[in-house]
């Protein structure tokens, strides 16, 4: 009899996840019908290839190649980013065209642009997007700020959900102001007094907020249906998605969108103990976020974009004290939950390699941007699959021959013995299509293991 999920070891859980990916289902739960036997074979070969690359137990048949674009598929299709964000069908069509044109072994789906109308309904202030602070042809960009104040750590520590609902969300969504008036859910206990807790729901600002939520939810669902359909169709065409959800390093949760870059840097000096406590509090929350997403999508790879642990952002001591311990706990928790953490080392991380290599073997895949790949292979690469690191500048400015020469070097060093997936190093918007093509085609040809 099959072991139930709770009784399985991390190894068994990962194996079960891959088996599930190898036997994909349609939305009704029946075996997925591929569009051709070739598509089915290509899909299964890609999953097997990436499984071998991640597990480090055996060398794959060849170096897998992934494309992880930001706005490139839409810009390349002659659309503005604004169109991709507002016309969901057009967005999915452009993404399909992109996949069929470049034929990577795997992709990350068309969800990158996100639903523009949804952001409008909620009056999202955390980002500027086309038509709302940036030009129609440009990507959305984050508006740095202190969305959590220096003196609010105790509030966050006491009850993160209450802090998020009543303080953080009203600051980043104009339409969620009404949340400020709600009482904590934990005050709802017994018949005496229970009705008092619900009075805020009669107030016009709260009702306005709930109306906006209903509308936003409907828009999100409309968009998600198109995205889900797109992923499903690409699977039937033989192209698997390698994104099952995302979570973040606790340091980045606080440093990116709560306290902001400058805020967290000040906190490291002025209130280090509170910062450390807050990050510990976030560990189970971030693990749950990843595992929850993976259970919803049925895909174990959980993306973790890493930002403020890069080389010049922290000293070695600061990295070891503030950044790494809680990130490692999140990754280990994900692994124990059957997920495959997929962190992205954005920027340069050369000085961190010796620290971050201390992770369970064959359980993670790391996107490498500008870190020296040979050094990454000798350290982190002993325990983990590396994915990357064709530079954005090269895809945008070089010739196909230069791209091929770079990929050859990557395959010869990082690809040695397996454990490597060819890909761009950072999410890219602008690129020469012939360079993207050269990266994929050359890898398929030269990357075959003999």
């Amino acid at each position: 009899m099959e072991k139930n999920w709770q009784e399985m070891t991390a190894d068994e859980k990962q194996e079960a996840q891959f088996q599930k990916l190898l036997t994909p289902k349609d939305p009704e739960g029946k075996d997925l019908k591929f569009q051709s036997p070739e598509a089915e074979a290509a899909y299964k070969a890609s999953i097997t290839r990436i499984k071998d690359a991640i597990q480090l137990k055996k060398t794959p048949d060849r170096v897998p190649v992934a494309l992880l674009p930001s706005m490139f598929p839409f810009i390349n299709a002659g659309m503005t980013v604004q169109e991709a964000m507002y016309d969901y069908d057009k967005c999915a069509a452009a993404f399909k065209k992109f996949i069929l044109e470049f034929k990577p072994d795997m992709h990350i789906g068309a969800a990158g642009p996100g639903p523009g109308k949804f952001y409008e309904i909620l009056d999202y202030k955390l980002y500027s997007w086309p038509g709302h602070g940036v030009a129609p042809e440009h990507s959305y960009q984050c508006n740095e700020g202190e969305y959590m104040k220096a003196e609010e750590y105790d509030l966050l520590l006491m009850d993160p959900s209450f802090f998020f609902r009543n303080f953080y969300l009203p600051r980043v969504f104009g339409a969620l102001q009404g949340f400020q008036m709600l009482a904590p859910l934990t005050g709802i206990l017994e018949i005496y007094g229970v009705a008092f807790q619900f009075i805020p729901y009669a107030l016009p600002p709260v009702q306005g907020t709930f109306k906006a939520l209903f509308e936003a939810g409907a828009e999100a669902l409309k968009w998600a249906m198109v995205m889900g359909g797109s992923n499903g169709e690409l699977t039937t065409l033989g192209f698997p998605i390698i994104l099952g959800g995302f979570t973040k390093a606790p340091f980045d949760v606080i440093g990116d969108t709560l306290r902001g870059t400058k805020g967290i840097m000040m906190d490291m000096y002025r209130q280090p103990d509170k910062l450390l406590k807050a990050m510990e509090k976030l560990v189970p929350i971030m693990i749950g976020m990843g595992i929850g997403a993976s259970q919803q999508t049925g895909n174990p790879q959980i993306f973790i974009p890493l930002h403020k642990g890069a080389d010049s952002f922290l000293s070695d001591e600061q990295f070891k004290k503030f950044y790494w311990p809680t990130l490692k706990q999140v990754m280990v928790g994900l692994i124990e939950g059957g997920c495959i953490p997929f962190p992205a080392l954005e920027g340069h991380w050369g000085s961190r390699l010796k620290v971050i290599q201390d992770i369970p073997k064959g359980k993670t895949m790391w996107m490498v941007d500008q870190t020296d790949m040979a050094k990454a292979k000798e350290t982190l690469g002993k325990n983990a699959c590396l994915i990357g690191n064709v530079p954005s500048s090269m895809l945008r400015l070089s010739t196909p021959d230069e791209v091929k020469a770079y990929c050859k070097k990557l395959i010869d060093t990082a690809g040695k013995g397996g454990g490597f997936i060819m890909s761009n190093g950072a999410f890219f918007d602008e690129a020469k299509p012939e360079n993207v093509k050269a990266m994929v085609d050359f890898t398929k040809e030269y990357g075959v293991y003999k």
């Binding site: 952002f313 000293s315 920027g347 500048s393 400015l397 918007d429 690129a431």
Partner: protein, 209 residues
């Protein structure tokens, strides 16, 4: 004798440094001398950053302490601070890009290193750089950008400077997340720097000081 402000601030001892400033102001000392000590301290911070002893949080923290010191000293200034300036630098994040963290650190380090910096902010159109060069007679321009779209904006900015007839008079440096030597070649800039202290080094090399 009070503790040394230069050393205390360079060692990022916030409370102690502020106390020293408070005490020195009480004794009626020339506020300009206090500011000069603080500026020298932050120069040491910059040097420690170049030597990989300090990192970005240390630079940012020193900037925060300096801001507080300036706030304490300013009301006591009787005449406008006559700080000897090395030269003028125009800095901004190029059109289409709204990232400012890297740019702000560059502006700060150029400022404390003795340059008069004109910060044009973010999402700056090429023409605004040209106008700033015309109005300030700056000889160094710094273009910042985080996204790949900045490659084109930087190139357009360099071309606009050229078209306006200023290319011979100004040196142009670029920097930001995805900027490398190849991007430098593409944009036609004179140099790229990987961090704020390289920007200072480049500016000093071109302007002197």
């Amino acid at each position: 004798m009070a503790k040394d402000l230069v050393k205390t601030l360079a060692d990022l001892k916030e409370k102690e440094a502020l106390k020293i400033v408070e005490d020195r102001l009480k004794t009626g000392e020339d506020p300009l001398k206090i500011l000069d000590d603080a500026r020298r301290a932050v120069e040491i911070v910059g040097k420690r950053f170049s030597d990989c002893e300090y990192f970005i949080p240390d630079l940012v923290y020193s900037g925060e302490i300096l801001k507080q010191i300036t706030g304490m000293v300013k009301p006591k200034l009787t005449k406008a601070a006559e700080v000897k300036r090395l030269g003028k630098v125009v800095v901004g994040t190029v059109a289409g890009d709204i990232h400012d963290i890297g740019k702000d650190i560059v502006v700060f380090m150029l400022d404390v290193s003795g340059f008069e910096v004109m910060d044009l902010g973010i999402n700056v159109p090429a023409q605004k750089f040209v106008d700033a060069i015309k109005n300030t007679n700056s000889t160094v321009v710094g273009l910042s950008g985080f996204l790949t779209l900045a490659f084109d904006s930087m190139k357009e900015t360099v071309e606009a400077i050229k078209k306006a007839g200023f290319r011979g008079k100004v040196k142009i440096m670029i920097g930001g997340g995805q900027i490398d030597d190849q991007v430098k070649g593409f944009t036609g800039a004179d140099a790229f720097g990987k961090d704020a202290m390289e920007a200072v080094k480049l500016a000093k090399g071109w302007i002197g000081g």
